[in-house]
């Protein structure tokens, strides 16, 4: 064991040090020589990451956001983070005040939900930005590699870990036709023996796109048909949505290419019930019951590596594969997309609430 360890350590040192050794030979001996060779050094307003500053941002910084940035000398960003904290707390209080009138909760529910979730998101987001920005320093994240143009074909599989769902395996094919400004995406989610199926058509456009993929505003509609031959019902749903994505670097320089995202949706759903649990009503059969819903997703997106994009969201959406963690909360969604080749992405989506769901997919560029 110890021999292997020694050999391993030696090899590791050799691997790590070899390039450095190679560089040393060509490296200038003094700072002046380096400057003469074109080295500019780090700009004064872009400090390096700080371990102590990061720890300060985690600890006392949770209560006073911006402490980490303040420690590293970026007072302007520290002030913005503090404002973000106060604004977030204010939104939470405003949401609570709206919700404090239960007799009007039916009308004001979506408003209070939006205020509270946005406030919590802003509060936690400004704290997280302080922590990440202080640890990381001014080095920007990698460019966003999430696809935002081009036609693709997706093939996926979803596992639903929910004890209430007898049918847990789903096939998830999709086709995306995306010109950049407008897009259409027909998709399906089908249980292998066809007893549970979902068909959806997303249509949308991006009225505003930043020069990179880090900023955009999108609006769209989603038409959906669910059919359950296990429980004897079907639904027809139409949902309108608005989503935006903003590079946090516009506000906090150290968070360049780290985007915050938000999505709002309002939908109407018509339910049709079969005469028996195995009977699925026809698509144009009479509606037995109609109901509307509101959903909200807040999160952030960034590239964890040059070709690997990560999106993390807190979602309140009663139409997703698994229920929320509790009656008063939502669920977490993590979407991971790795551009394996220029024409092939590997996608992974994890939902965690009252149960969990994992989806694996391959996306081929057409």
């Amino acid at each position: 064991m110890s021999v292997r360890l020694t050999v391993g350590a030696t090899l590791a040192c050799w691997v790590i040090m070899a390039p450095a050794a190679a560089q040393t030979q060509a490296a200038p001996k003094t700072l002046d020589e380096a400057r003469a060779q074109g080295f500019e050094g780090r700009p004064a307003n872009e400090p390096a990451g700080s371990m102590l500053g990061g720890l300060l941002a985690i600890g006392p910084g949770f209560f006073v956001h911006g402490v980490g940035h303040y420690y590293t000398g970026d007072e302007a960003a520290a002030l913005k983070l503090l404002v973000g904290e106060l604004l977030g707390a204010g939104l939470v209080v405003a949401g609570a005040l709206v919700a404090a009138r239960p007799e009007e909760a039916g009308r004001t529910g979506p408003l209070s939900t939006s205020l509270v979730q946005s406030g919590v998101f802003l509060f936690l987001g400004s704290w997280l930005a302080d922590v990440v920005g202080t640890f990381k320093g001014a080095e920007p994240f990698d460019d966003d590699t999430a696809r935002r143009e081009g036609h693709t074909l997706g093939l996926g599989y979803r596992y639903v870990g929910d004890p209430r769902t007898a049918r847990r395996h789903r096939l998830v094919p999709s086709l995306t036709l995306d010109s950049g400004r407008v897009f259409a995406q027909p998709s399906a989610e089908i249980e292998p023996n066809f007893s549970e199926r979902r068909f959806a058509l997303d249509l949308g456009g991006r009225p505003w796109r930043g020069s990179s993929g880090h900023d955009q505003l999108a609006v769209g509609a989603r038409l959906r048909r669910d059919e359950s031959a296990t429980f004897g019902y079907a639904t027809r749903a139409a949902e309108g949505w608005l989503a935006w994505k903003l590079d946090l670097g516009h506000i906090i320089a150290r968070m360049r290419r780290f985007s915050i995202t938000q999505r709002y949706a309002v939908g109407v759903e018509q339910f049709q019930f079969g005469a028996s649990p195995s009977e699925v009503p026809a698509p144009f059969a009479e509606t037995d019951f109609s109901s509307s819903w509101f959903s909200l997703a807040s999160g952030f997106a960034f590239n964890v590596a040059r070709r690997t994009h990560l999106k993390l969201e807190f979602v309140q959406d009663p139409t997703v594969a698994i229920p929320a963690a509790s009656a008063q909360s939502g669920l977490l969604r993590g979407a991971f997309s790795h551009q394996y080749r220029d024409d092939l992405d590997i996608d992974v989506e994890v939902l965690a609430g009252d149960g969990f769901s994992v989806a694996l997919g391959l996306v081929y560029a057409l």
Binding site: M1, P102, E103, A105, G106, R107, G109, P110, T113, P163, R164, D226, S228, F231, G232, Y233, T235, V266, E269, F271, F273, G274, A275, S276, P277, D288, F289, S291, S292, W293, F294, Q316, P318, T319, V320, I322, P323, A324, S326, A327, Q328, D354
Partner: protein, 444 residues
Amino acid sequence: MRCDALFALFALAALAAGCNRAVPTREAAIEAARTVKLAADLSVELDGALITTCPDDLSTPAGDDAPVVCVRLTAFDAELRIVDTGCAPRPVRVHVANASADAKVAWRAFRAGESTARAATRACCETLLQPDADARHPDWTPLGPEAALDGLDARSCGEPRGLCWTSTTRPGTDEAWLTPWRAAAPAEASDAACVSLSAPQAGALRAAPFVLAQRVRAPLVPQATPDGPALDFAVVGNTGEDIAALEGLVARVNAEDVPFVVVSGDIAANGSEEALDRARRALDALEVPFFMTLGEKDADGADPAGLVDRFGASTDVLLLPTGQGWQPKVVLLDSAEGGLSAKTFAALPDFLAPGTPPGAAIVVTHTPPFDPAGLRGAGFKRRGEGARLLAALSRAGVAAVITGHLNEAGADMQSGVEVVHGGARHFVRIRVNEAGRVFVQRSD
């Protein structure tokens, strides 16, 4: 490399063990409360009742070491069975909570089996020969007719909604008897008698467990109304941490002529022991039995066994026997987590199936399947589950669904099912008649 692989495997195993650890549920707690083992050869099984903690002020005769079993009724026709595979006479003191003022106690002893000849007689000519069989336990052998316990003896503890007595089983002589709570325990029988009576020569039937089945029945009396005979009951709930509001509702219900109360949940602040105890004390002031399903405020962080101990079964079917050829039922569905459990969904067809005798089905559940306000989203957490429940309710022809959770009172039709939202601090009076019609009156 091998070490890394082993470490990874260990980590995965630990993760799997962690993810698969058994989480205590209220359903498991309800199942666990349906039986109790008092000794290696003595146990108690319950139908329509659950084991509960005995009242603090319950006293037993000095020097008495007879086991005490405390139960809480969850039905109007409950059976408490003492299963004794021993021989010598043994007393068990039984305390019953949540009983109607007019509940009657009767008992009958059985051998939990039958002789070959009796089984053959039943199989060929049951209608013609009519062997002495019990409707509830047709394949058991009764050891005598059903006997009633005197009402005064059954109430020897002096509690308005409590019954108590002492049961004694003596399998060695196929005897059993019920006596008042404070009756002295019988003396030990000689071992000789036991050996002779439990010997294999005594036959296969003798080897079957001796069962003392004690029934507590409280038939409900329909009231005459312009729409025919009908049963009334009250639904209260949604008082949250306002214990004074709950006490006020209890006082109002006591002033009404209703035979029982259903609590629709959210009567505690946050599932804390103190809040649940306060709520239970307030409900104990009711003069009639109560049955309860839970809301998220009751269940949040609460010990499942503690909830079952205090409030009984949060998912249950409460049959309402009228003794007049019709029998409505109240189906309690625990939706405290914003949906039903997998087990409840699986049992739903049985819960909602037409009964014998027939009668309307009324569902009481805390969270409505769908929020009538839509965008607020205060219905089930996942709309697919709301649709699943509503489809089942609609197909079963459920007469009405009574919910809590929402602070605004109201009613709406969801796929032909009347869904009544009790609102905050509600008191809803329900009347169900012989024809299966349900009348809902909100009492503000």
